[in-house]
């Protein structure tokens, strides 16, 4: 059976860009928020740009929170979170007050704060920055360590190092990618990161079933 990749449509941005990247590496990905389509998928992608709170309330409105939990945590479907989609798997975000996330990894989403540092870096962190590998991840296969990827975000994922696969330096060393079993996520945008980004999409497409441990 061929893979059914579903890009979750919850009203938060650049879904078409992500779909295009899948097409470019020869995979079909459907954009949908239909519960049946999501249940029948083999892989799920949660992209997104915008505010955490809006994203969570959109997911709640579409009744997707429990469904995603069932598909990703219980059924262990391969999952890729991108940018805001990575932040949403955290326990809690401090963007515009406190908002609970999906809570799949014990992490908090906090803002870059350079008010006490000698060099006040600009926020958002926008542009190309390198990702240093922490543990090996199948997502980075055949991509050199410290390759550059495209970032645009003001908040970042803070957790202990258990699930970290990549870190990036922007005034602070922050977590730019994680993997917890079948759950993969990147703070950067692979769909906007040219050849190395497309390679990440291809690596995700190639991952098989629920055999990742």
């Amino acid at each position: 059976m061929s893979d059914k990749i579903v890009i979750i449509d919850y009203g938060m941005g650049n879904l078409r860009s992500v779909q295009k990247a899948f097409e470019k590496v020869g995979a079909d990905a459907i954009i949908s928020n239909d519960h049946n389509v999501i249940q029948n998928s083999s892989k799920l992608v949660l992209p997104g740009v915008g505010a955490f709170k809006d994203a969570m309330s959109n997911l709640a409105e579409l009744d997707l929170i429990d469904l995603l939990h069932e598909e990703v945590i219980n059924k262990k479907k391969l999952f890729l979170g991108i940018c805001l989609g990575m932040q949403l798997i955290a326990r809690k975000s401090y963007e515009f007050g406190e908002t609970e996330g999906l809570g799949w990894i014990d992490a908090e989403i906090i803002r870059f704060d350079f008010s006490d540092s000698p060099i006040e870096l600009k926020v958002p962190h926008v542009g190309w920055n390198n990702v240093a590998y922490v543990n090996s991840s199948p997502l980075f296969e055949n991509i050199p360590d410290n390759s550059d990827f495209y970032f645009v975000h003001s908040y970042y994922f803070a957790s202990d190092r258990q699930y970290v696969t990549g870190i990036t330096d922007y005034g602070v060393e922050f977590i730019s990618s994680v993997q917890k079993k079948n759950i993969f996520a990147t703070q950067f945008h692979p769909e906007k990161s040219q050849t190395h980004g497309l390679k990440i999409i291809e690596n995700f497409v190639r991952l098989e079933g629920t055999s990742v441990c």
Partner: protein, 252 residues
């Protein structure tokens, strides 16, 4: 470490690729899709596509050509020209752009930036300001309105306060001239603006890029140099790397 971006700027007029000198004497030089394809193949950092007369002529958004351009891009793509409503923003982003550049509409209505940022996020709003030096003073210039009676730095600060993600600063006087970026202009803005500044207008050789970064630019946009000289974005980046500026070098 965050890299300085080198961003080819593709100018369109009636959705044809043109070159301009000081915002006039346009000449059609080819088809945009072919050009965009070349930039994607060259692995550029980012791309800005501006339809320069869209606002002036009240043209509708050309969804078809934006879609065609976006389909060639696997790097961040900014589209500007004639965006007047949230619906226009949605149309452009939905066609595959990542950011929109706002110019004319924001001059008369800076809160339009806030409206866009609230719905689509600050990351997709590039506030574009065109500047002309008149009698030694930098003034805001707009093709439709001419010289606008607003202080350029104040306007940029207002855009930032309204939630713009980046400022695209274009020197009309330097446009298409290859005499180098207006570093004095950059210094005027540098300390006042905390969001990234993309400087545009005047790059003629790789050395110009160094001056601009030293004067406070975060990213460098250019049109003429990449269309009409032997220099490629990669050559600019190699020069910068040689002088220890962080850039994303592409192999091959």
């Amino acid at each position: 470490m965050l890299k300085h971006r080198i961003i080819p700027c593709v100018l369109l007029k009636d959705w044809q690729l043109v070159k301009s000198i000081q915002f006039s004497s346009y000449r059609t030089i080819g088809h945009p899709i072919a050009t965009v394809r070349v930039y994607n193949a060259r692995n550029v950092d980012e791309l800005i596509v501006l339809d320069i007369d869209a606002s002036l002529n009240d043209e509708p958004i050309n969804t078809e050509i934006i879609t065609d351009i976006a389909n060639e891009c696997f790097m961040p793509l900014t589209i500007g020209g004639g965006i007047k409503s949230l619906e226009d923003v949605y149309t452009v982003l939905n066609a595959g752009a990542d950011k929109i550049a706002i110019n004319s509409k924001a001059i008369t209505n800076p809160s339009f930036i806030r409206e866009i940022a609230t719905v689509f996020g600050s990351q997709c709003v590039v506030a574009s300001i065109d500047i002309k030096k008149i009698d030694g003073v930098y003034r805001v210039y707009n093709k439709k309105m001419g010289i606008v009676d607003i202080d350029p730095v104040e306007l940029a600060c207002e855009y930032e306060a309204q939630g713009a993600g980046e400022i695209l600063l274009t020197s009309v006087d330097r446009d298409g001239t290859t005499v180098g970026y207006d570093t004095e202009l950059l210094q005027l803005f540098g300390n006042k603006i905390t969001i990234p500044i993309i400087i545009n207008g005047g790059m003629g050789n790789p050395k110009d890029s160094i001056e601009a970064l030293l004067s406070g630019a975060d990213a460098l946009a250019a049109a003429y140099i990449f269309h009409f000289s032997q220099y490629t974005p990669d050559m600019i980046k190699k020069e910068l790397a040689f002088h220890n500026f962080p850039v994303r070098l592409v192999k091959g």
